[in-house]
């Protein structure tokens, strides 16, 4: 458990002054708090004897209020410093976590889902904050108060100390064992909640299917089951959790009861004064919290450790794709050479012995079925996935030799799945080039023809696209994505089947404008449509990770093979038509 907390040490170190100040305030608070019952005791004893001046009571109470003022200031102080430190640590840890996430490659993101990472960045972060803030306070406060009160009770009121505190260790044990019992019930409730969300999400996304196949009732009854399950897990939790505070109240009541019984007789005998009786009553009440705190602290630290472990899983994940120690900071030319590239992913061979040359200024077309390895191939070039050394060369140098950010900024990739950020269209377009001027935006928007629809957006370029571009059509998203890549004017540009949601007429005009703009630069275009590949200087055909054909469009059309087959299939319809005509 302690091993996990190592991660926190550098952060804690930075806030040592906070913790020391907090500690001081905490101890002032505790010490002053311990004095308060003494004033009450004194006053009660004075009153009991009957022989007193009211002024004596007044000064005692005034002194008590002075001490109470110290308590108040002390309480403010420790909260300010310790909660302040734990909040700041939380923030720094969260920032560092995000910074680390920025370094990790898709290998990691395949393994860990967004929802999972989010849970770690929120829930686990909270648990760590609790451990470094309240956990710390509970620990110090608990130990200090417990020892001090026990000393006071045993030295001043030895006759009744032992018997009255008897229920208190039970409180600690109870809180501890409760934590364990609750832990897995909480987990089950959370799982139930996830299932519920999933079900709601699915029913609502699939509402068309549900309606057309008239499945409203069966869907609702399934939802009812999930709902009922969730309710049951919640009630299982309540059956335990509902007892928690009543039992704590009961146990603390028992200490008062024991005081009444034994302290009452002691007072009656004259062993202790009525003032003592009241003071002990106050001390016993003060002891409840540290005793609970001891239990809470153990739980909090345990949870904190578990959460840190989960955070460490991310933080200790070594970025597998990094710049070399002495990177090249300049790319001399934009020739791409691929040499005997084989690549496997998750134990599956994806690419097998791929070689080709793409001279600067040329356009390469890639055709292949789904799953032939096209998308993997193009991700290897900007090292979004890491190719084996000595297999991919840019400007005559292995891509591993370059500084990573330099390499990536040289390659513009338009991926198959369009991802837009929930900001304005303008911000999305200038994502890679934030300083871009109005004309620049206009130009790249013209190439992808998204500018044609400018007037249909309520606020022009400043229209918000919604989460992941939800307010846009598929074609609009794809075109923004193309413009976004063009905006950085990359020397090498890769198009991964990026026009699938655009109608043919538009595709044609986009491709023409694109190729004109990209004249003299290096491009790679992946497509299902033979027509799209016409314009490429050379074409390779991929099948099951191998290059099975290469050549120009004209050559490939004549050559027997997959390219011709696909070309024929796509043309077949026209031939049929010609016959009818």
């Amino acid at each position: 458990m302690l091993k996990e907390f190592k991660t926190l040490i550098p952060y804690l170190k930075r806030y040592i002054p906070y913790y020391i100040a907090g500690l001081l305030f905490l101890i002032i608070t505790d010490a002053a708090q311990l004095l308060i019952p003494q004033f009450i005791r004194k006053a009660i004893n004075l009153i009991y004897t009957g022989n007193f001046e009211l002024r004596e009571i007044l000064t005692t109470m005034a002194l008590m209020l002075l001490i109470a003022l110290f308590v108040a200031i002390g309480r403010f102080g420790w909260r300010y410093f310790i909660h302040g430190a734990s909040r700041r640590i939380e923030r720094e840890l969260r920032d560092d976590l995000f910074s680390h996430l920025l370094l990790l490659s898709s290998t990691f993101y395949r393994k860990m889902k967004t929802g999972d990472i989010m849970a770690r960045a929120t829930n686990d972060m909270r648990a760590i904050r609790m451990a470094s803030g309240m956990g710390f306070v509970a620990f110090i406060d608990g130990i200090f108060m417990m020892i001090a009160i026990l000393i006071i009770l045993f030295t001043r009121y030895p006759q009744i100390a032992l018997i009255t505190i008897a229920p208190l260790p039970v409180v600690t044990l109870f809180v501890l064992s409760f934590g364990k019992m609750l832990g897995h019930r909480f987990k089950r409730v959370q799982e139930g909640f996830s299932r519920l969300s999933e079900h709601a999400q699915e029913s609502l996304s699939g509402i068309r299917v549900i309606k057309t196949f008239v499945q409203e009732k069966s869907n609702l009854s399934r939802f009812e089951e999930t709902n009922e399950e969730y309710r049951a897990t919640n009630m299982a939790l309540v059956r335990v959790w509902g007892f928690f505070f009543p039992i704590i109240g009961f146990l603390s009541g028992i200490t008062s009861l024991l005081l009444l019984k034994f302290g009452g007789v002691a007072t009656l005998k004259g062993d202790i004064s009525p003032g003592d009786f009241v003071a002990v009553l106050s001390y016993l009440e003060m002891l409840i919290w540290p005793m609970m705190g001891a239990g809470f602290m153990v739980n909090m630290l345990q949870r904190g450790a578990a959460s840190l472990e989960r955070i460490n899983k991310i933080l200790h994940e070594k970025p597998d794709i990094t710049s070399p120690p002495e990177p090249l900071r300049e790319i001399k030319s934009w020739d791409i050479r691929i040499d005997n590239l084989s690549f496997s992913y998750n134990g599956e061979d994806v690419l097998d012995n791929i070689s080709f040359l793409l001279p600067e200024g040329n356009t390469l077309g890639i055709l292949g079925r789904t799953g032939s390895g096209k998308s993997t191939l193009i991700r290897l070039l900007p090292r979004l996935l890491d190719p084996p050394k000595g297999s991919i060369f840019l400007g005559g140098q292995d891509v591993h030799e370059y500084e990573l950010s330099l390499l990536r900024s040289a390659v513009g990739l338009v991926p198959q799945d369009t991802f837009l950020f929930s900001s304005s269209i303008r911000e999305n377009l200038s994502f890679g080039n934030p300083d871009m001027k109005e004309e620049g935006i206009r130009e790249v928007a013209d190439i992808s023809t998204i500018s044609r629809e400018l007037e249909t957006f309520s606020e022009g370029w400043n229209t918000q696209v919604g989460e992941r571009g939800i307010s846009l059509s598929g074609g609009q998203k794809q075109r923004i994505s193309i413009s976004r890549a063009l905006a950085i004017q990359p020397p090498v540009m890769i198009f991964d089947d990026a026009l699938s949601a655009v109608d043919t007429e538009t595709e044609e005009s986009i491709l023409n404008a694109f190729l004109k703009k990209r004249q003299g630069k290096t491009n790679i275009i992946i497509s299902h449509r033979v027509s799209t590949l016409h314009a490429a200087d050379s074409i390779i055909v991929l099948d099951e990770g191998k290059i099975i054909q290469r050549g120009t469009h004209e050559e490939l059309v004549r050559e027997e093979g997959l390219y011709q087959e696909i070309n024929n299939l796509q043309k077949l319809e026209h031939h049929g038509e010609r016959g009818q005509k």
Partner: protein
Amino acid sequence: MNEEKVISGYDPQIMRRLLQFLKPYKLMVVFAVLGLFLSTAAELMTPVIMQQAIDKHIVVRFFRIKEGEQPLFADLKIPDDAPMIEGWLYLPTNVFSELSGREIELAKEKGAIDTSSYYVISRGGEDIEEVIWNHQKIFTLSEDYAAVLLEDLSTLPEEERMILRQRDIQGIAEAAVLFFILLAGGLIFSFLEVYLMASTGQGVMKDLRMKILGHTLGQSLKFIDKNPVGSLVTRVTNDVETVNELFTTVATSVLKDISLMVGVVVTLFLLDTRLGFITFLTLPPVFFITLYYRVRARDAYRRVRMWVSKVNAYLSEHISGMEIVQIFGREKRCRKEFSETSGELLKANISEMLVYACFRPIINFLTSLSIGVIIYFGARGYIENLISLGVLIAFIHLIGKFFRPVMDMAEKFTIMQSSMAGGERVFALLDQVERISDTGTEPLPDPVRGKIEFRDVNFSYVEDEQVLKDLAFQVEPGETIAIVGYTGAGKTTIASLLSRLWDVDSGSILLDGIDIRSFPLHELRKMIQPVQQDVFIFSRSIVENIALGSNITREEVERAAKIVFADSFIRKLPEGYDTILDERGANLSTGQRQLLSFARVVAHDPKVLILDEATGSIDTETEKLIQRALNNLLEGRTSFVIAHRLSTIRHADRILVLSGGELVESGSHSELLSREGVYYNLYKYQYEAGNREILT
């Protein structure tokens, strides 16, 4: 992420509507509230028991008044069996709290009262008589009682004192037993209350969820268009969960706190009116400070919520879009942006922390202040014999109980308000009604032949943007109709109108000569089914994805899959027909998903079919398979195909060409080509472009 309203004010209307949901749980609520009051009463009784034990047994004192002078003390309740010894009537000191100090002084001057502290013993028992006998000098005796000055009593050895006070010791033990019973009662009742309230809350949540989902499923698609799925899911899950806070936090804890606080004040007044009143005067500052901090806590909470959701939105979006961030080399910028957002959250958190760091110590100080005031005025009362020690101790004890709930009162108000806001959002959703009216009662013709007629149909999604204009055509049973036209021509709308996902504005659609609105909606939809472009897959098994909860046997499912050639790929899956599919069918290719949706239709066997052909990228071989499956699918059904592929169009019996919501041409492929109209142009353009997809 849009910043949703996190906190609303107290709205009685929302509260009233929420209370409606409590109706089925009336009995539980009644018992819960009963449990709450009983447990509160038990908690308030314990200090009183302690006070009684102190005053009656632990610190007992008697004053005595002259017999015959009772009229002077007419205000006092003098018990009939008050001990009478040698012409003096002995009364416990607390009886005198009704008198003012002046009245007592007056009586003293008259010699009617002796305010020395006495202890009175009822005689009987050998050991007691023995002690009295041994110390005759200090006792004044009657037949039944013995009185002794407290000073004298304390001169006796401990053993003898214990003998004299054995009844008090027994009294303490009895008080302890009573105390225990109250504690145990409190434990049981408060658990009962928590459990019943939680049970009610859970029940209400379940009902609310069912209601929201049921409501949504019963609405037309306009409803879904207005409310994005993401926010609907939030309504069903998180918002309902915050409504639950109203039951768990507000009902159990705020109600409990309030009844406890009121109970404390009442008990204080019952114990001693004067001191109760003085104590009460110390409370208004607490009230105003709490009111002030409630507002500040709410504002702070609002800010925190806002930044929490911004940080989370940023985080989740950038984790999902990490590849884009890396492709565009935006890591540094993102780090900076995130750090800024996260810094704002920190600021909000710190200012929220400061609110509580001020509020709680202040309340704490006020507790001490109240205790100080109680002790000071208590002491004054004690001098004047107006107050007993037990009452004073009970006051100190009770005031502590009063202040404890105040500590997190501000926090609870905030929670209450945010759950109100949750309720508001839920009800706003339930108030939206976009239902397709389902008033038809006509039974479907038996058998349904599948003749369809559009009679001057007009339709628009939004006012003034007419999508279909006076559309009229007839389709014979079993005919296959291809609908072609440019994007926005109204092709998909025809499909939605046929299955009544939307209703026509004017005109009518007839099935076998009867208006489709006169059939029950469910019956109609069983007969007319659309197949969508993007196939929605549920994360259940293949069998369930085909049967979709209808009464369809496994054999029928498999037969349907075979008919559309889906059987072979299904059998290749690890668990065959029992393979659980991924969310959104990620483990199937686009083509396979399409085949699966065909199997769905075959299994449900509608008489009329509307097929929206997929435009997505499917590799050419799968496409061939789909074409063959399609032929089987269309066989024997009246079908509308919103076609994109030439082969499909060619195989159609008739082609309807739409333009701008109007039917501009209809006829077979060759007829239309020879007419050289819209279809011809469409065809020619696409053909010359040399594309696989003819019409999009």
